[in-house]
């Protein structure tokens, strides 16, 4: 009887705590309402602590409830034992938990795949991306199969072989045949994936320069991307970071190189559909990463180590908007390597358009070598000559 009284008293205690909490809750709501209208700093401070206190109390209440449940279980267990029965069989309970978890987990996985799985990137919008997507689906099927089977076995065994005093485990220390089988089968599956992956990777990465490629320079610095398109000659002028001496020539283009004269500045990464694009990737300060998820393109931008990525977009922005039924859709390029405080918003709009639209757009872009740079170059040239003259004077002395 003593135990029962104890439970009762705990219950009373928890009811009391719940009552208190509800009271606090009501209070909270009131002060919250008044606080929002008044908005005085001291009041919001006390509001804050009130809120904290509320959550702390809520947590303490949860602890009390758990403690009460724990005590009830203990008492129940003891009562069973006092009556000469066996105590609570935790092996059975937890075995059932495992089974429930397995079923719930499998359903959850299914739910995730069907709901969240539909929110993933659309099919690749580039030529090489299609190969990667095939790879993706093959890997997805294989790994999901393995995942589901092994988890079913794991939790199924846990339920099926939950402990009992009547049984003994089955002494089965090894079986070389089985072990060979489950070494060789994964090895074969992985070999297939490796070979498949290796050739896909080689196709994507081992590219050569070809005539007709559109070379575009993309340069990352904290926290924006700069673009440079070649002019009519189709060639980009050299860059050298040491030539970065004004904000106008912020790419450090070398104007000794004739190819640079007709280079163009651009704000949007405009790409003609079905043309081979070669992004020449540079970074000025820290590592950035050019990430174009819709095209399955990613390559880091490394200071001092120019990189590139060649790809061919196959779906225009307009087409993709239609496909996704989203008139506001835009391809985006984002930075995908931690680069500082503004990392999370270092994006660039990417447009894939038809060839004619591209040419039209290109003809409206401003040359990189603008009047300001010309002026600066002129000045710089003059000062250099001056400097040289002074040197000569110095030498003569």
């Amino acid at each position: 009887m003593g135990f029962r009284k104890f439970i009762n008293s705990k219950k009373v205690l928890s009811l009391f705590a719940a009552f208190m909490l509800l009271g606090t809750n009501a209070l909270m709501a009131q002060t919250g309402a008044s606080g929002s209208t008044a908005g005085a700093p001291t009041e919001s401070k006390s509001d804050m602590w009130m809120g904290v206190g509320y959550y702390v109390l809520l947590f303490l209440l949860a602890c009390v409830v758990i403690a009460v449940i724990g005590k009830i279980l203990k008492v129940y267990d003891l009562a069973l034992k006092m009556q000469g029965k066996k105590g609570i069989n935790w092996n059975n309970i937890l075995g059932v938990f495992c089974l429930v978890f397995l079923v719930a987990g499998l359903y959850g996985t299914y739910w995730s795949f069907t709901v969240q799985g539909t929110q993933i990137l659309p099919d690749a919008a580039s030529k090489h991306g299609e190969k990667i997507d095939v790879m993706f689906w093959v890997t997805l099927v294989i790994t999901t199969f393995v995942f589901v089977i092994t988890q079913i076995l794991l939790f199924g065994f846990l339920f099926k072989y939950r402990g009992s005093d009547k049984r003994k485990g089955y002494y089965y220390p090894h079986n070389n045949m089985i072990e060979k089988i489950w070494t060789i089968i994964p090895a074969i599956v992985l070999t297939i994936l490796v070979v498949f992956g290796f050739f896909t990777w080689r196709d994507v990465m081992n590219t050569t320069n070809e005539k007709g490629d559109i070379n575009i320079d993309i340069t990352g610095h904290q926290f924006e991307w700069l673009l440079r398109y070649p002019g009519k000659d189709g060639k980009l002028g050299e860059v050298n970071y040491q030539l970065y001496y004004t904000a106008n020539n912020n790419l450090g283009v070398n104007f000794q190189d004739k190819n640079s004269f007709d280079d163009l500045r651009a704000d949007t990464l405009m790409l003609p559909v079905n043309r081979s694009i070669r992004l020449n990737i540079h970074a000025q300060d820290v590592i950035h990463s050019v990430y174009l998820p819709h095209f399955r393109v990613q390559m880091n931008a490394v200071p001092g180590l120019p990189t590139f990525f060649k790809f061919t977009p196959t779906v225009t922005t307009a087409e993709m908007r239609h496909r996704l039924d989203d008139p506001n859709f835009n391809y985006l390029l984002y930075c995908n390597k931690i680069c500082g405080g503004g990392h999370y918003n270092m994006q660039k709009v990417v447009m894939v358009v038809t060839e004619s639209e591209y040419q039209e757009w290109l003809s409206h872009q401003k040359p990189y070598l603008n009047d300001q740079i010309k002026q600066e170059l002129h000045l710089a040239g003059a000062s250099q000559q001056k400097g040289a003259a002074q040197n000569r004077i110095a030498l003569n002395n």
């Binding site: 990463s289 390559m299 880091n300 001092g304 985006l332 990392h343």
Partner: protein, 630 residues
């Protein structure tokens, strides 16, 4: 015997349980500058738990930011001051949180907290030695670790905040103090802390290896060692061979930062200023970093594997399936882990040909990992499973290892990695396979060996069950949806997703993840309460509460210097004779000679022992003859 004589023989002289009677134990030598491996294990564990709680709170802070990017929390400003102006995290402080969370969890919790605790506790106890090869170096190892922890945490109190370049601290971001706030003094402290940490790790590792190699008790040949010891041993080797490379990387970074060298820096224009660096390569740092960094993830997971193997075998009341295969797969993982580091660098500008090579080596390492998983499953099969909290956590470890492991096949494939690199898919992958799996291994170890840590006490089982189920379910709720975010190309380390309209659809998922993380965090209160209250009020355990075979359960309940009174027990058999047919009990401790268990011996038990086999055959013949007579 030579192995047992190598240690100072305090314990051997004092046949009473000699702790409190011990002649020169003051508070300082017993609890602070202790050279006893069991005390050092406790020091590592409690420091590790403290660091884990801190790192967990950091993760909750940035999870709140991700779930409620537009809300302001005045409490944050009260707590964090200038790091959360107006109750919203500062974007650079967000990166610092991510960085320090990762650093603490990977190095301080899952390397030092896990290896430091259990290698220290179990290697001498399971190999049968009185203490570590060098107790003094062992003590130093802890104090270097504590120093490293203090320095790491101290970086929260410098003006510009802690390091913020990510736990991988890629230069130039980490090398240029002006590139971000966290790259100022905070990064210097990070680097100093790391050098101390590596010192600690090396001293620990050398000790573990020499103890395992030289100080095993009589009869304990390598093939009679429990898988835990195998795992700690190979982990220590990995650490010894790979951590120095990180020191090299870190020291060169210190040079670049403080002495104007250009090991990692070249062609840099920072905020409109041309910097004088030239000729260095940021990729070099990545090679050096990942040469440690990849073995590091195995340094984290292998002890957890060892612990899980032991706990699963004990609680399934079955021998571990394929003991040799388990050891060989550990050796395979150890070896291969040195040649896979490039899979972290597929798209960093490393030569694409190398990418192909690293993909091949990476996918090969999946084979031993798969073998281990199948062997665990086979161990559970037809077992007699006892659901202790330790068993549940070991199971959780296996489940996470599978879930996180299969996605490794995606990321190890360089072609797929192009689009998955640095997205939430990676976050999901490694948090499951090395984060959750390793921490579950560690928790399994804590629940299982608690009586060995805190003389003869047990942790409460029911609270353990509660702790397990909430943590397990919430960990899946946190990390499973992240896969899909990654497949949508959501990059990691983004302060907020609101800048991209296409990420709005993940808002509800982010809120779910955050609340699951908070719930999981609160569930740890159950563990902390259980852990600390059981030190004093835990149920008394018997000497061998789990009916296990390994040597540590033959040591007296009360701790003592030298572990065993009198002579160290001799080992006669492997540690996995559970439910052996022909024996009445369902376990036979390693110290029971084969001659006492004639009815349960198998020809297999005499593999390297022709004399024994002869005796066994004679016994079988005689036995058969007897039966025939009857």
């Amino acid at each position: 015997m030579s192995s047992t004589l190598a240690v100072h023989g305090h314990g051997a002289e004092h046949h009473d349980h000699g702790h409190e009677h011990h002649h020169h134990d003051t508070f300082i030598t017993k609890y602070v500058f202790s050279q006893d491996h069991k005390m050092i294990a406790k020091q590592f564990l409690i420091t590790g738990i403290t660091m884990a709680v801190i790192a967990m709170i950091l993760s909750l802070l940035f999870r709140i930011q991700l779930a409620y990017p537009d809300k302001s929390f005045p409490l944050l400003e009260t707590l964090l001051g200038r790091f959360a102006p107006g109750g919203r995290l500062d974007p650079e402080f967000y990166l610092s949180l991510v960085t320090i969370h990762g650093t603490i969890m990977v190095f301080f919790v899952l390397t030092a907290g896990l290896s430091g605790t259990f290698s220290n506790l179990l290697i001498p106890l399971q190999c049968g030695s009185r203490d570590m090869a060098s107790p003094f170096v062992n003590m130093l190892s802890y104090w270097f670790f504590l120093t490293a922890s203090v320095i790491m945490l101290a970086s929260f109190f410098v003006q510009k905040g802690p390091a913020g370049a990510g736990w991988t601290i890629y230069p130039p971001l980490s090398a240029l103090p002006k590139a971000m706030k966290g790259s100022d003094l905070g990064m210097t402290l990070w680097l100093i802390s790391m050098v101390c940490f590596i010192g600690s790790s090396l001293m620990g590792g050398i000790n573990y290896v020499s103890t395992v190699l030289n100080m095993r008790t009589k009869g304990m040949d390598l093939w009679k060692m429990p898988l835990t010891v195998w795992a700690f041993f190979l982990t220590a080797i990995l650490g010894i061979l790979s951590f120095p490379v990180l020191v090299a990387g870190v020291v060169l970074l210190i040079f670049d930062r403080s002495f104007g060298t250009s090991f990692y820096l070249s062609d840099i224009v920072l905020a409109g200023k041309v910097m004088p660096f030239s000729g260095g390569s940021p990729i070099l740092f990545q090679h050096l970093f990942w040469f440690l960094g990849h073995p590091e993830v195995y340094i984290v997971i292998m002890p957890a594997m060892g612990i899980a193997s032991e706990v699963i075998a004990v609680n399934s009341r079955k021998p571990i399936f394929g003991y040799h295969a388990m050891v060989y797969s550990l050796i395979g993982i150890t070896t291969l882990s040195f040649i896979v580091w490039g899979h972290h660098m597929f798209v960093t500008g490393m030569n694409p040909f190398l990418g192909g090579v690293f993909m091949i080596t990476t996918l090969i390492i999946a084979v031993p990992s798969a073998v281990k998983t199948f062997n665990w499953l086979a161990t559970i099969w037809r077992g007699n499973i006892r659901f202790t909290p330790a068993m549940l956590f070991a199971i959780g470890m296996v489940s996470f290892f599978i879930s996180g492991g299969v996605t490794g096949i995606w990321l190890g494939n360089s072609a797929l990695d192009i689009n998955l690199h640095d997205t939430y898919f990676v976050v999901a992958h490694f948090h499951l396979v090395m984060g959750s799996a390793a921490i579950f291994g560690m928790l399994a170890g804590v629940y299982h060996w608690y009586p060995k840590l805190f003389a003869g006490r047990l942790m409460d089982e029911k609270l353990g069950y509660l702790h397990f189920w909430i943590t397990f379910i919430c960990a899946y709720l946190v990390f499973f949806p992240m896969h899909f975010m990654g497949l949508d190309g959501v990059p990691r380390r983004y302060y907020e997703m609101t800048a991209f309209p296409s990420f709005n659809k993940w808002m509800s998922v982010n809120i779910l993840i955050t609340w699951s993380a908070i719930t999981a965090g609160l569930a740890q209160v159950a563990f902390l309460y259980n852990f600390f209250s059981s030190i004093w009020f835990g149920k008394r355990a018997t000497q061998n509460p789990w009916n296990a075979n390994t040597l540590e359960w033959t040591a007296p309940i009360e701790h003592m210097h030298g572990n065993w009174p009198g002579e160290i027990p001799t080992v006669y058999r492997w540690p996995y004779d559970y439910s052996k047919p022909g024996h009445d009990a369902d376990f036979i401790p390693q110290t029971v000679p084969l001659s006492e268990t004639m009815s349960s011996n198998l020809p297999h038990d005499f593999e390297d022992n022709p004399a024994g086999l002869e005796q066994y055959n004679a016994w079988v013949k005689a036995h058969k003859a007897n039966e025939a007579v009857k």
